[in-house]
Structure formats: structure tokens, C-alpha cells
């Protein structure tokens, strides 16, 4: 079957993904994509201004088109459709035959017919190319105006503000987001947005745009007022792109949109229309979730035989929750109480700038809609109550009123939701699917997300998914046991809290107060790590040494044959020739295998325990410090050479990496921590694969967090952009201490982040907006660690008692003669078992005691 898809936007691409996932269809698929790049996340478009690249926004998994033999024609649109011959003629002049045709052309931004609208410096906000043009113009501008105060208009205003323009929003209606929220909500939203430095003009009708006196343009309004600006972005709504359908006689609505039935079929059985170009039951759906649902329905219909067995599109809920410039805004169902007899409950807090409204049926039994501005915590719960017609409690007002101190909020238990309740609308995941996945062994939020895809797109449903996870675990009788081990009936997070609050400094004290038994190889290193994070004492005191994993116990990395490797700190990967020579000399003297690490350091392998203090006293004398390669601790800060040498560098990445590495060296954490600093967006230091990644911008630093290479690569996410040096360090302080405080044992930041209930927004709130009021406390805790840093190896080699512990034998000198090396490529390596068994085998002599 030949299938042509016109359009490779979010919905068009979802269709292709859904189609190739169908088992029973052998399709020969051609995709026409008029943009120069395949599908990307248009919902996250404004992230482009805070540092994300076109690649970051891509929705196409690498190799997707090749793997499924889909013919993608980039930069090629459709010019016409011939329904009789069943062909599509492309803008490249090619004519292609089809059996089934899918129109996913989306919409175009509506630009009101204002004289002067085509002047230079006037833009629309739809594609990456639009954004690139806006960025270029923004760099030459001081003032920017967005025409349109809807959802997209406010996103746009954020973009202009991010470009540091004096920003105005001009709205025709009497309030912002007129479609989604009411007057009360609009007032609160307006004052919040004005506080952020954006000027809002409502009830302004632009009649003409002419040359300005001080700026590029002057806007003239119907009421006689004027506004000067350098750039203008139109965001006055969208219109369906239905021109192809009109031209070939397919039915379209009075106000545009290709008419489709419940299977997303147009009046021609072989032609489908999905997404924002489709008109279903007289309605156009300008959100991505209904578009995805249409894509699923169309793909299944094409693959089904008979097609009426396929699922149907039955409309979609248009409730939305979003964060506009850090302001939570949500609209559910009948937000304007337009239903006959509807009654409202309203709560306003003008000091905290929160507005909440419930709309109920006349008798108060059912929820019809809601508006939440400033705090949208209840969104998930209220949405489910409305969608599933759950009976309201007798006093519904308590659903939106703040709880008095110490009282738990009245709420809807997730138990009340039916199995069919759709929890994740982006990926169409129901409560039943989540419960089944929990039953099948997904007992963490991370695992549940991975298996069901719930909460992996917008993340808005993550709190609800977590509640369902907990409830289902409880129902199944799985105690949610996050105890560290049999000796402590606490999670790592709880132990951390007990240690810090109780000022506990020894394992014996911890065990006698909160645990039982002797401890074990799980809880002892956890306790040692917590003590180090909290009090930063020397890790090899008589009471602490016994708690350390072998690596920390010997301050070196144990290898398969029981020998150790040594990694001195080479901060930022910067090293003088003299120090490099010392490393070479030490390696040569002790016969160590040397290798460059991924973290821009040098690893020396093959030392026996008793040699470590000797080797380290030479290294310490030469000015080296321990590199903590053995610890669950801050490892390296990789850097590129930066603006000092590089033609492209915009900041001194080496200096910043040195600052960061020396600030956090020695910090112990639930798992190792890797950092990097890149001097420009070319990102040579690969900062986006690190726990903490810093990338220079023209104006400062972008801070990325929770990336990982290794087994499960994960791109770091932008936490904050264009920071000055002090703010950068302040946020890293908070981030690290918050992670140390709340993560599980051996949980890297990437996994911790995947399991974080509120996701990236929550993390931003805590770190950037200090929503928990913890900022100062976290910074003070970090300051204590930073101020108490001592090189562990320097301290060890200066302490004869500590050095004694490194002897291989308590009752004899010398080393382990079971350690045997052979030579390979001019260096040593451990002998294999097979080599040892050969009778004639003779290993490389170990340098037993150097002169």
C-alpha cells in the first residue's frame, strides 16, 4: 500500500510512528516535509531562546526514517492533489501516486490585515526559521511587542524578554488568555506577568504600523494611543492550512478546516486529515494531545480491515496547564461557567497572587470546570474529577482552599478513579495500564515512566502517576520498602536527615540510636558518605575507616587482581609540563601502567596497597592532591580550552572549571559526580552528558544538570540560562546539596531526576525560585564542606598510624606475590589465568621496594 503523508509536524510524525508500529500493514510511506528539518517539538519552541538547539527539539529518533524505509522528502511540500488519478504533485514538480493520503499540514499564524504588517522586523512565531529570524532581529533591537495575549503570545513575550528586550503584549480582548481563563484569573495573571517586567496593554486594537521616531516602528491604536517598538511578533491565533483540500474539492468548514469523520477520514475515503488542519464535529483542536489521538486513530483505521473496527476519535478535552514565565496557569473544562445553571466557587489571595475557581453543576454534585492561576497544584486531581464525573464532596470549596497548618488537604484519592481514566493525555496512558505495569514489577516512578511512557512528554501528570504508583503498591501489599538494609529501617534520605538533625558523627552512635546489628557493606558506606557530606571529617579515622568501601579505605581504585590505581587531581585537565614529568617519573619508578582517563586526568595502575603511601608522598611533595577517583564524590570538571586560546570561545572555560573543581573537590555524594565546562555552544567539553554541565554564552553561563553518559545516556537539561559567575555557583551549591539530601544510595543525578515527582519544573522551582525556602540552608551546608576541605592523601602520608594500615601484611613486609604482570605494548598488565598456568610462565618483576 502506498501512503503519502503531507506534513512532518508533530502530528504528522506521530502518524508515521503509529503506522510503522502496526503489525499488519505493509506500507510504502512517503513523507513530504516543507520545512528544512524533520519533526520537532513545537510545544517547547520557546526553549530555543533559553539555549536549546534545533537538535534538542527534534522528535525523530536517529535512523528512524532509514530503519522503517520511510521516504522523507525534506524541503518539499505538496502543490496539488488529483483525487481521480490518486496522485500528489510536489513543489519539486514530482507526481507521486497514493493508495491512502494523509493531510497533516497543520496551521499557519493568523496575521490581522493591519497596514504595515509586512514591514521589516515583523514576525510570526511558528517554525525554527521564524525563531532564528527573531533572534537575529532581537540582537539589533531594544523594544519588542507581541500582538496577541493568548497562550502562544505569552510564550512569545517570554522569548522577547529572554532576549532582554523591553517587552510589551498588546491584546485586543479585555484580558490575557481570554479563551482559557476568566476575568479574575486574567487579573492575577496580568499582575504576575507585569511584575516580571512585561507591559500588558489590553483592549488595544492596532490600526496601523508606520515608521517610528525612536524605534523602527510606531504602532497606532484605535483609541489614538501609540507605541514605539523595534520588532513586532504576531500571535493572534492560528488558521488551518486547508488550501490543498479546498483546491481538490474536499469539504471544508465555513471558517476553514478539512471536515473529517470519527476515523479522521475526509469526504474522500482514501484521504485523511489530522491535527490542526482537521475539522471534527465543527471543532478544530489546537493542542497536541488531540492531534496525537487523531494520528493514532488514522493509523489504526488504515491498518484495520474492516476499518470500522478501528478506534474512533470522539473529541478531546481542551483543558490545559502550563507555566508561563514561571507562572502556573491552568484551565479545565467549562472555565467560564457557560453551562446553564453552573455555580462557581472562587478563592483569591492577592498577596500571594493566587486565583482559583471551581465551576460545578447547579446542584454542586459534579465538577464542570476550573481556573487556576499562580498555583496549579490541584490541576491533575480536578481534571480527573471532571473527566470521570466523580461526585464532589459536600463542601467542594475545600478542594481549592489552602489547608490550615498541620492539616492534610481534603482531596480525591486516586482510588476513586476508574481504570479507564486517562492519566497521561500526551501518550494516552490509562490508570489501568499504570496499575498493570506496577503489578508487572515497575515499582519506581522511573521504571513506570519507561514502561508505560506516562509522564514522559509534558510531565504534567507525574504527580498523579506517583500517587497511583503508591496506591497500587499499597493495594498489592508491596510495602514500599526503601530501607537501606536490614540494619536500618530508614531510606537514605531519612538517614541523612537523622544524621544532620541529630548531629550524629559516628557509626556506633547511628547504629545504637537508629539501627541494629553490626551493619554491613550496604549501610556502612552509606553512613560514611552521609557523615562526609554533612561534617566532612577525615574518612580514615579509627572509627570511620571500617565503614569505607575498599576504594575509600585505601584512597585508590581497586582493580581485578587486587592492586590499585592512582588518579591525582588535574583540575580542569590543565597541567604544567613539570607536573606531567613528575607523573611520568613516578609511574616509571614504580612500574605503573599509565592511561589517560575520560575526565582529562592520568590514571596510574598496578600499585599494591603498601606502595600507595610511598607513591603518594612523592606526588604530594610535587604538589599533587588526591583526585577522589575512588570515592562516590566529585570527580572531574572537564573543560575545553575556552576563549583564552580558541577562536570561537566566548568565556574562559578553563578558569571556570578550575573554580568549580576547587570549590567542590572532596564533596561526597550518593554517587559520583562529573562536571564539564564548555567555552561556547560548540560544546567541546561535552557538558550536556554530565551531572553538572556549564556552557558559556555571550552573556554568561548556561547551567545544565542531570546528564549522564555511561550505560543509559541522558542529555542534561537546562536549569537556568545566562548566569553570572556568582549565581552559577550559587545554583550549583543548591543543586548539589539538594541532590545529596534527597537521592537514594548509588543513584546518579540522572536517575534521581527521572524519579523526581515534579520533574524539571520542580527542580527549577527549588533551585532557581527557592520555592522550599531552602536556598540559604543548602548554601550554608555547602560552605561548610568547601571551607573544611583537606587533601586526604596529604593528611594520610603525614600520619604514621594511618600509613601503617596500608601494609599488605600485618606481620611481614613486602607485597603479595600472587600479583603477576606481563608486558604488553611497552607497559604492564595483569597476567591472565591461562598465562599463569603455563609452566614456563614468568611475569614481569614487580618493583618490590623502590630505592
Amino acid at each position: 500500500m502506498k501512503i503519502i503523508v503531507i506534513g512532518n509536524g508533530m502530528v504528522g510524525h506521530k502518524f508515521v510512528e503509529e503506522l510503522v508500529a502496526q503489525q499488519n500493514v505493509a506500507a510504502d510511506v512517503t513523507v513530504l516535509c516543507e520545512e528544512p528539518r524533520p519533526a520537532y517539538d513545537r510545544v517547547q519552541l520557546s526553549a530555543f531562546f533559553s539555549g536549546k538547539t534545533a537538535d534538542d527539539l527534534s522528535l525523530v529518533t536517529p535512523g528512524f526514517f532509514e530503519q522503517h524505509s520511510v521516504d522523507l522528502k525534506l524541503g518539499v511540500g505538496a502543490k496539488s492533489i488529483d483525487r481521480t488519478l490518486k496522485t500528489v504533485t510536489t513543489t519539486a514538480g514530482e507526481t507521486l501516486g497514493y493508495d491512502k493520503l494523509v493531510i497533516a499540514t497543520g496551521s499557519y499564524p493568523f496575521v490581522p490585515p493591519i497596514p504595515g504588517k509586512d514591514r521589516e522586523g515583523c514576525f510570526v512565531y511558528r517554525t525554527i526559521e521564524d525563531l532564528e529570524a527573531m533572534t537575529a532581529c532581537g540582537a539589533r533591537s531594544k523594544v519588542g511587542v507581541v500582538i496577541g495575549g493568548g497562550l502562544l503570545g505569552l510564550e512569545c513575550a517570554k522569548a522577547l524578554r529572554d532576549m532582554q528586550l523591553q517587552t510589551h503584549v498588546v491584546e485586543f480582548a479585555p484580558r490575557l488568555m481570554a479563551v482559557q481563563i476568566d476575568d479574575g484569573g486574567g487579573r492575577v495573571l496580568r499582575s504576575k506577568i507585569e511584575q516580571l517586567g512585561v507591559t500588558v496593554h489590553t483592549q488595544k486594537n492596532t490600526v496601523e504600523i508606520v515608521a517610528g521616531d525612536h524605534c523602527r516602528h510606531k504602532m497606532k491604536f484605535a483609541d489614538g494611543a501609540e507605541l514605539e517598538t523595534d520588532m513586532i511578533v504576531f500571535s493572534a491565533g492560528i488558521r488551518p492550512r486547508d488550501e490543498l483540500a479546498r483546491a481538490c474539492g474536499l469539504g471544508v468548514g465555513e471558517r476553514g478546516g478539512i471536515i473529517v469523520d470519527n476515523h479522521c477520514r475526509t469526504l474522500d475515503d482514501d484521504i485523511y486529515a489530522i491535527g490542526e488542519c482537521a475539522l471534527w464535529s465543527g471543532r478544530i483542536f489546537g493542542l497536541v494531545a488531540p492531534g496525537y489521538e487523531m494520528a493514532r486513530v488514522a493509523a489504526k483505521t488504515i491498518a484495520s480491515s474492516p476499518s470500522h473496527d478501528a478506534p474512533q476519535f470522539t473529541g478531546a478535552d481542551m483543558s490545559t496547564k502550563l507555566k508561563l514565565m514561571g507562572v502556573d496557569v491552568a484551565s479545565i473544562g467549562d472555565a467560564h461557567a457557560a453551562t446553564a445553571g453552573a455555580r462557581s466557587y472562587v478563592f483569591t489571595d492577592e498577596r500571594k497572587q493566587i486565583y482559583k475557581k471551581l465551576v460545578t453543576s447547579e446542584d454542586g454534585s459534579l465538577l464542570l470546570g476550573a481556573v487556576l492561576v499562580g498555583d496549579a497544584t490541584e490541576y491533575g486531581q480536578l481534571l480527573q474529577m471532571m473527566l470521570n464525573h466523580i461526585a464532589l464532596p459536600s463542601s467542594p470549596e475545600f478542594l481549592i482552599l489552602p489547608a490550615a497548618d498541620g492539616q492534610t488537604r481534603v482531596g480525591l484519592g486516586v482510588d476513586a478513579l476508574p481504570g479507564s481514566a486517562q492519566i497521561c493525555s500526551c501518550n494516552n496512558v490509562t490508570k489501568l495500564q499504570l496499575c498493570e505495569a506496577v503489578g508487572a514489577g515497575c515499582t519506581t516512578l522511573g521504571a513506570l515512566k519507561k514502561t508505560t511512557q506516562a509522564a514522559t512528554s509534558c510531565g504534567g501528570c507525574a504527580p498523579l502517576v506517583t500517587q497511583i504508583l503508591k496506591a497500587e503498591m499499597k493495594r498489592l501489599g508491596h510495602s514500599v520498602n526503601n530501607h537501606v538494609c536490614e540494619h536500618f529501617a530508614y531510606s537514605r534520605q531519612e538517614l541523612y536527615h537523622l544524621v544532620r538533625v541529630g548531629r550524629i558523627e559516628t557509626f556506633d552512635a547511628l547504629l545504637s540510636k537508629h539501627g541494629s546489628g553490626l551493619g554491613c557493606d550496604i549501610c556502612k558506606p552509606v553512613a560514611a558518605s552521609i557523615f562526609a557530606s554533612c561534617w566532612n571529617d577525615y574518612v580514615l579515622t579509627r572509627d570511620k575507616a571500617a565503614l569505607q568501601d575498599s576504594n575509600d579505605y585505601f584512597l585508590a581504585n581497586i582493580q581485578k587482581n587486587g592492586t590499585y590505581s592512582i588518579v591525582p587531581r588535574i583540575a580542569g585537565g590543565e597541567i604544567t609540563p613539570d607536573k606531567l614529568i613528575v607523573l611520568g617519573q613516578v609511574a616509571k619508578k614504580y612500574g605503573l601502567y599509565t592511561k589517560i582517563t575520560g575526565g582529562q586526568r592520568i590514571d596510574l595502575f598496578g600499585a599494591q596497597a603498601h606502595q600507595l603511601p610511598q607513591i603518594w608522598s612523592e606526588l604530594v611533595d610535587a604538589g599533587f592532591e588526591t583526585g577522589h577517583a575512588y570515592g562516590k564524590a566529585v570527580r572531574t570538571v572537564k573543560s575545553c580550552v575556552g576563549s583564552t586560546w580558541c577562536r570561537f570561545g566566548v568565556q574562559d572555560s578553563v578558569s571556570m572549571s578550575l573554580t568549580i573543581e576547587h570549590r567542590y573537590k572532596g564533596l561526597r555524594a550518593p554517587h559520583k559526580l562529573k562536571f564539564a565546562v564548555s567555552g561556547c555552544t560548540r560544546e567541546c567539553a561535552e557538558a550536556q552528558s554530565k551531572d553538572v554541565g556549564v556552557i558559556a554564552t555571550e552573556k554568561g553561563w548556561n547551567l545544565y544538570v542531570c546528564g549522564n553518559g555511561g550505560m543509559k545516556p541522558r542529555h542534561a537539561e537546562l536549569l537556568a540560562g545566562d548566569l553570572d559567575d556568582a549565581t552559577l555557583l550559587q545554583y550549583i551549591d543548591r543543586f548539589l546539596m539538594f541532590y545529596i539530601r534527597t537521592a537514594d544510595r548509588l543513584q546518579r543525578t540522572s536517575v534521581w531526576r527521572d524519579n523526581l515527582e515534579g520533574g524539571l519544573d520542580y527542580l527549577k522551582d527549588v533551585i532557581v525560585h527557592d520555592s522550599l525556602g531552602l536556598g540559604a540552608e543548602l548554601e550554608a551546608e555547602m560552605a561548610q564542606v568547601v571551607d573544611s576541605y583537606v587533601c586526604e592523601w596529604k593528611r594520610t602520608v603525614e600520619d604514621p598510624e594511618a600509613v601503617k594500615r596500608f601494609r599488605t601484611f600485618i606481620n611481614a613486609d613486602g607485597g603479595d606475590d600472587n600479583v603477576v604482570f606481563v608486558e604488553e605494548r611497552g607497559q604492564i598488565r595483569p597476567a591472565t589465568a591461562a598465562e599463569r598456568e603455563r609452566p614456563e610462565f614468568k611475569g614481569v618483576a614487580v618493583v618490590a621496594e623502590p630505592a
Binding site: 569505607q548 575498599s550 606481620n811 603479595d816
Partner: protein, 112 residues
């Protein structure tokens, strides 16, 4: 093969709840000092050779208890060995030898 009691070191030379390695007749013996909450100090001895990795490392593992057993975890692949019997909890087919050990007049003695 006859066994003999060997004097190894003073008990204070072994830090509480850690192990050391002794060379006795060219064999490597891992010796552990366990200080219990009630103040009692006990000494255990097993082979230092870890049968899973082939390296001589067991004296460098973390000690503790799993249920009623007093154990050490191999620092290489983390299997647990019962200090009293030498049993490997994860892979019973690969145990180590255990040896009698005691404290006598402040000195640690092992019977090898």
C-alpha cells in the same frame, strides 16, 4: 597436615571492625576483629584468597552481619563470606577455609 597456633600481632594493631592480612607459612590469612555492642571483641580468620576474582583481597572487605551470620563482603564482586565457617552466601560452591583464631593475653593467634 598438622596445624599449629601462630602468634600474629597485638589485638590493638587491628582497628575495630576491620580486617588485616597475615602471612603464615607462605599462606595469606585474612584476620578480622569484630567489636560487638556489648563490648566483646572477637577474632575470625579465613583465607585471604577470593575464589571469585582470584585475587588476595578478602581482608580488605567490609565486615558486618547478615541475619545471624557475621560476614565479610569481597571488595571485588561483593560476595559475602561467613567469617565463622567460610561459607559463601551467594555461591555455596565457592567457599573459603576458616581457621580457629583467638585473643590470648592481648595477642591475636591463629591456628593454621
Amino acid at each position: 597436615m598438622s596445624t599449629l597456633w601462630h602468634d600474629v600481632c597485638g589485638v590493638d594493631e587491628i582497628w575495630p571492625n576491620t580486617g588485616v592480612c597475615a602471612r603464615i607459612d607462605n599462606r595469606q590469612i585474612a584476620i578480622f576483629r569484630i567489636d560487638r555492642a556489648d563490648g566483646a571483641t572477637e577474632i575470625f580468620a579465613i583465607d585471604n584468597h577470593d575464589p571469585h576474582s582470584g585475587a588476595n583481597v578478602l581482608s580488605r572487605g567490609i565486615v558486618g552481619n547478615l541475619g545471624a551470620r557475621t560476614v565479610v563482603a569481597s571488595p571485588i564482586y561483593k560476595q559475602h563470606f561467613d567469617l565463622a565457617t567460610g561459607d559463601c552466601l551467594e555461591e555455596p560452591s565457592l567457599p573459603v577455609r576458616s581457621y580457629a583464631a583467638e585473643i590470648n593475653d592481648g595477642r591475636v593467634r591463629v591456628c593454621v
